[in-house]
């Protein structure tokens, strides 16, 4: 299995900077997800790694071998495209054997490899059907089979689940995760769906406007985002952002009279330069506790709406004009209009600079 290294990768289309200096290290056998909104450069990066695009500048290394100038056929990668790119007129079997036939692999080897792959992806009953008539879920499995049948060093996936129904995506997501662990292939996966990224990735690379914003494990990015963008992008539902003013060890929430007295020394230390100024406080819905009893000097808000979500509920409040969401179980009896007390977990607070959006503390 290959390692992949990107050094200062750049790709410009005329004046448009699709990728503007990307550095990345992908370890062997790991599952790396390139995550970001459309237009952030993640697909372009993937295509450069595949060899389908020639970078304007920078280098790409597979196992310390410079592959930057090599064509896709010389790189030994497998790829699953967003719309699968199955050869529509060929049968499933012909699709899977295509990469092997193209390399003039002896028929006996082809038979072995096909048997392996059919077993893993459960394609036995589909082999004779023409690829174009299969439903999307099956097409995707065939595309995966075709990509791995050659034992590539790196597996590249470009939003493979985006064409699927919601429910189906979930199932396929789990399947993909299990599969990658079983096959042990170095995998680079592109998506704009952060749930997918968090569920599948060992490492997530958040990209925006051609640059990498943050790299880390899902947990790192979720609990310690380095910017408002990352904090907002990850998580379902998103992080709550509240405008506050920092005054002598307390955060005053704008739109309320509530003063959150800070206990954490590291928070206070980092906030010293922000004395008297406005900052953005970020806290995730699951880190706010709802209490039926109202505490003196505590934060109390009126329930605006309740969104059921199966095993938990999302309660919407209003702070100023903005929606503030809290996640809670079904224990407490709540109706819109009821006033409840809220406590925020200080150890999960993130503070962001209002102008730059960068994290002061997270």
């Amino acid at each position: 299995m290959s390692t992949v290294r990107l050094e200062n990768l750049k790709k410009y289309y005329g004046t448009v900077k699709a990728i503007d200096g990307v550095n990345l290290n992908v370890e062997s056998r790991s599952f790396v997800v390139l995550l970001g909104p459309s237009g952030c450069g993640k697909t372009t990066t993937l295509r450069c790694i595949a060899g389908l695009e020639v970078p304007t500048d920078g280098k790409i290394y597979f196992d310390d071998r410079d592959v930057t100038g090599l064509s896709p056929s010389e790189r030994n990668v497998g790829m699953v495209f967003q719309f699968y790119a199955l050869y529509p007129h060929m049968s499933v079997l012909e699709n899977i054997t295509f990469p092997l036939r193209a390399c003039r692999v002896p028929p006996k080897t082809i038979e072995e490899k096909v048997k392996e792959v059919v077993q893993i992806f459960q394609l036995k009953d589909l082999l004779k059907y023409k690829a174009s008539i299969l439903p999307p879920g099956d097409q995707q499995r065939v595309a995966l089979a075709r990509a791995v049948v050659r034992d590539p060093g790196v597996l590249l996936l470009d939003e493979p689940l985006s064409a699927l129904d919601e429910k189906f995506r979930e199932e396929m997501r789990s399947e993909l995760g299990k599969l990658q662990k079983r096959l042990g292939i170095t995998t680079i996966y592109v998506t704009h769906d952060q749930r997918e990224a968090m569920a599948l990735g060992d490492v997530i690379v958040v990209m925006r406007d051609g640059l990498i914003l943050q790299v880390g494990s899902p947990q790192e990015l979720y609990e310690h985002p380095n910017s408002i963008f990352v904090g907002n992008f990850l998580g379902t539902p998103g992080m709550n952002f509240v405008e506050c003013r920092y005054e002598k060890g307390s955060l005053v929430l704008k739109g309320t009279s509530y003063r959150l007295k800070l206990e954490r020394q590291d928070l206070i230390a980092h906030l010293v330069p922000y004395e008297g100024r406005e900052v953005i406080m970020g806290i995730r819905p699951e880190y706010v506790h709802v209490d039926g009893k109202l505490k003196d000097g505590g934060l109390s808000l009126e329930v605006v709406a309740i969104e059921p979500a199966g095993r938990y509920r999302l309660i919407d409040f209003l702070i100023g004009e903005k929606v503030f969401r809290v996640r809670t179980d079904w224990e407490l009896s709540l109706v819109p209009g009821r006033r409840v007390g809220l406590q925020m977990r200080e150890d999960r607070l993130c503070i962001f600079d209002k102008e730059s959006g960068r994290a002061v503390v997270s």
Binding site: E166, H192, A199, L234, T236, A305
Partner: protein, 365 residues
């Protein structure tokens, strides 16, 4: 109140809607939830008057409207693709329904209403812009405004937000819910997205293959699904289904004699009564009800870890139980490694029993 009675509709030999009956009370946010191809859009089109049912009737407030032409029903429709008038700007799009000859609203009042709706939906700054220059989310808001502005009797929404990306979807979800709560309007919607359905609906109707299989509040359906299909559709992530055998007074995970699920003898007897001595049962359990531990406890079963999924606020682990796969919600402290062995608890009060043949729920009472 909108009522559908025994509606059936086929296209050639494909049965789209099969003897469907439904009631939407005033002020409800009713969502028809089901997979693609279930017949949801056809049902909505019949309610709108864009399709005629082969049999059955549609009533509004007791009056039959099955053959009434769409503009006369005064229902507003919001499509999956918003269908805004591309050559007009936002203001004219919003004003369009009010300017129709059926209403003949004076221009002064049109202006007041358009501005009011625009303020409501935070699109005042877009009023002069051409529709084609808006983002997806903004277009959806304009479509919503256009539907709201003529105060129809019912708002009919067909997958209104599923084509948007996730963050936008969340925003509009809240928007819909808020407007519903504040104005008490009646909404009939259809989607395949179970998460937004549960978040927005006051009542959900689960639809599959042209039939409504269960109706209830999101919570009711979640706690008490009547069949495997319903449980599969409503959960996120989906409910676990484990094939089990009855044998020797115990319930065994299929294929493995060593994995007995502890159940009370009264439960065993009741199950035996339904499926027979050596019968099979499909056992359902929500991922959050499966307890996982590294230590062996009495009555707990062995399982192997396949991989861990991080979902932000929570983590799930995919396990192999016997030869079957299940998913469990992990508590914060537990951190299993790929390939390691753990123990799971499937406690009886959290179990749901389903028939292996029909998929219907087996109630033991």
């Amino acid at each position: 109140m909108l009522e559908l009675k025994n509606i059936s509709k086929s296209f050639g030999d494909i049965v789209a809607v099969d003897d469907l009956s439904l009631r939407v009370e005033d002020g409800e946010f009713f969502v028809i939830l089901g997979p693609t191809g279930a017949g949801k859009t056809t049902t909505l089109r019949i309610v709108m008057g864009l399709e005629k049912p082969d049999s059955g009737a549609v009533y509004y407030d007791g009056q039959e409207i099955t053959h009434l032409s769409p503009p006369l029903r005064n229902f507003a429709f919001m499509f999956e693709s918003h269908n805004l008038y591309p050559v007009l700007d936002v203001y004219d799009n919003l004003a369009f329904p009010l300017r129709s000859p059926l209403f003949r609203v004076p221009e002064e009042e049109v202006r007041k209403r358009v501005e009011s709706i625009a303020a409501e939906l935070h699109i005042t700054h877009l009023l002069k812009r051409k529709v084609s220059h808006l983002s997806g989310g903004e277009q959806q808001r304009v479509a919503l405004g256009r539907a709201l502005i003529r105060k129809p009797r019912i708002y009919i929404l067909d997958e209104p937000i599923s084509s948007l990306d996730y963050k936008l979807r969340e925003e509009l979800q809240t928007e819909f819910k808020r407007i519903h709560e504040e104005y008490g309007i009646t909404i009939l919607s259809a989607t395949h997205d179970n998460i937004s359905a549960m978040a927005m609906a006051s009542r959900i109707g689960i639809m599959e293959r042209g039939r409504i299989i269960q109706v209830g509040t999101p919570r009711e359906i979640y706690i008490d699904p009547v069949s495997v299909s319903v449980a599969r559709i409503i959960g996120a992530p989906s409910m676990n289904f484990v094939e089990c055998n009855l044998a020797e007074e115990k319930l065994f995970v299929e294929g493995d004699r060593d994995l007995p699920i502890p159940i009370a003898s009264s439960t065993f007897r009741a199950l035996k009564g339904r499926v027979g001595e050596q019968g099979k049962v499909l056992v359902g359990i929500w991922p959050e009800s499966v307890l996982v531990s590294k230590e062996m406890n009495e009555g707990w079963l062995e399982a192997v870890v396949e991989n861990v999924e991080y979902h932000g606020a929570e983590r799930f682990v995919n396990l192999t139980l016997g030869e079957q796969s299940i998913k469990a919600l992990l508590a914060d402290e537990v951190n299993p490694q790929h390939g390691s062995e753990v123990f799971v608890n499937l406690s009886e009060e959290k179990l749901y029993f389903f028939s292996v043949d029909t998929g219907m729920r087996i109630y033991l009472k």
